[in-house]
């Protein structure tokens, strides 16, 4: 089952990338995520592994994931190593023709358990609305946090200019 959510963030792709590439931030902006821990080295980039869990109704599901695509500031993808089968992807695309930088952010998550037949199919469809809701809320929180960070940076720059 694949679910996805998209949002436009009023910031450059680099600014958004700083958030999605930082495992320490995931617990702060990802809805439903109860665990996002670095496992071994490297801590980020290709080959980085994390133990993640997402609350989906009666259970926290997830497992060990590994980053398999890492192309700053555009694509970040992971696949599961242990636990529920999953493949996730961040796609960041800066939109041209705007007065200020704007980035379209897409978060995709495919999930399931191979070989589970009919019940697996039903479970995926029952879980999908909850997972989709988590993704949408995550993107809204990401947008708020990135744009707030932009404001703070701009304010700091203005302060520095006034002081100078």
């Amino acid at each position: 089952m694949r679910v996805a959510a998209t949002i436009e963030v009023n910031a450059s792709a680099d600014a958004v990338w700083a958030f999605v590439d930082d495992p320490a931030r995931y617990l702060h902006f990802m809805a439903g995520i109860t665990r996002w821990e670095i496992v071994g080295a490297p801590a980020r980039g290709l080959g980085a592994r994390y133990r993640m869990l997402m609350q989906v109704r009666a259970a926290e599901v997830g497992g060990l994931i590994e980053i398999v695509e890492h192309e700053p500031p555009c694509d970040l993808a992971w696949v599961s190593v242990l636990g529920v089968d999953q493949r996730g992807r961040w796609r960041l695309r800066e939109l041209g023709g705007r007065a200020a930088p704007c980035t379209r952010v897409e978060l995709r998550l495919s999930f399931g358990v191979a070989g589970t037949g009919f019940f697996g199919w039903v479970a995926e469809h029952v879980a999908a609305p909850t997972v989709r809701d988590h993704l949408r809320r995550s993107l809204r929180q990401l947008k708020r946090q990135v744009e707030h960070e932009q404001l703070r940076s701009a304010a700091a720059a203005r302060r520095a200019a006034r002081a100078g």
Binding site: R35, A58, E60, V84, G115
Partner: protein
């Protein structure tokens, strides 16, 4: 007298094949692939039917053997075990060894052989020791058949009776105890009485290691005596709280007193169960 003797002989005859079918504990019967493949259906059951909620799984130590001590509810169909097992396997992964102890009778019932694939082994101190030696998390229900068949109006009561073997087991194995407190299971049927007198009269304690012959009102049987064939549980909301681990020697010194430890653990569990009971507004609905 004659009637009593006849009843005893009949019960002995009925018990013999059941006892012969008691499987020996083979920890290798646990099948992680099977557990993984059945996760979706247990997740559906837990999420949609029992609306399971498990809190505090992070309190279970990440690695190594641990004794999970739970209160038991729901008669011979125990939804708290279903909900907790799903949550445990989803949280820690099916790769982590996890065994549950169950009464011999449960494992020898026709059609329940699949429980062994989930890691369920016959309840005995030897089997529990072996499972802990293998590094597994082991779930035990000290209250056993006594607690699981308590009347529904005692659903918010921890009732281990005088059973303290779990404390000795944890001390011998040198493993922490993690209390697991569940509520809702006793609302899956209307449990009326344990029927301890009836069980004693039929000498079930000697024949089957069963101290009770419970009587309940349950779907689809109506009046359900013994609950040997199980029942269709009502969709009661199951809430489970996992408490922080207790290192017995760290907390009670190098030579802990079994009674003191037992009292401490049951008191903690009762306090938690009181809080969980206070959260519930309606029976079954939760």
């Amino acid at each position: 007298m004659v009637a009593g003797s006849l009843l005893e002989r009949a019960a002995r005859a009925a018990a013999a094949p059941v006892r012969r079918r008691v499987p020996p504990a083979d920890l290798d019967e646990r099948d992680p692939d099977y557990i993984r493949e059945t996760l979706p259906r247990t997740w559906l059951l837990s999420s949609l039917y029992f609306r399971g909620e498990v809190r505090g799984l992070g309190n279970v130590p990440e690695h190594g053997p641990v004794l999970l001590v739970g209160n038991h509810s729901g008669g011979n169909v125990t939804p708290d075990t279903i909900v907790f097992s799903l949550a445990f396997h989803a949280y820690f992964g099916v790769e982590r060894r996890f065994h549950q102890l169950a009464h011999n009778l449960v494992l020898s019932m026709p059609g329940l052989g699949f429980l062994r694939k989930y890691g369920t082994v016959a309840a005995s101190p030897e089997n529990a020791r072996e499972a802990l030696r293998s590094g597994a998390a082991v779930l035990v229900y000290p209250g056993g058949d006594r607690e699981v068949h308590r009347p529904s109006w005692q659903g918010a009561r921890i009732d281990f009776g005088d059973r303290r073997g779990y404390v000795r087991l944890a001390l011998e194995a040198g493993v922490p105890i993690v209390p697991v407190v569940a509520i809702g299971g006793q609302e899956t049927a209307l449990f009326l009485t344990r029927g301890e007198g009836l069980a004693k009269f039929l000498r079930l304690d000697r024949l089957l290691r069963v101290d009770v012959l419970p009587v309940s009102l349950a779907v689809p049987w109506g009046l359900n005596v013994g609950d040997l064939l199980g029942h269709l549980p009502l969709p009661a909301k199951i809430t489970i709280e996992v408490l922080p681990p207790i290192d017995l020697r760290e907390e009670f010194g190098p030579d802990p007193d079994v009674d003191e430890v037992h009292d401490h653990i049951t008191r903690l569990m009762q306090e938690t169960l009181d809080v969980l009971a206070a959260e519930r507004r309606f029976p079954v609905l939760g």
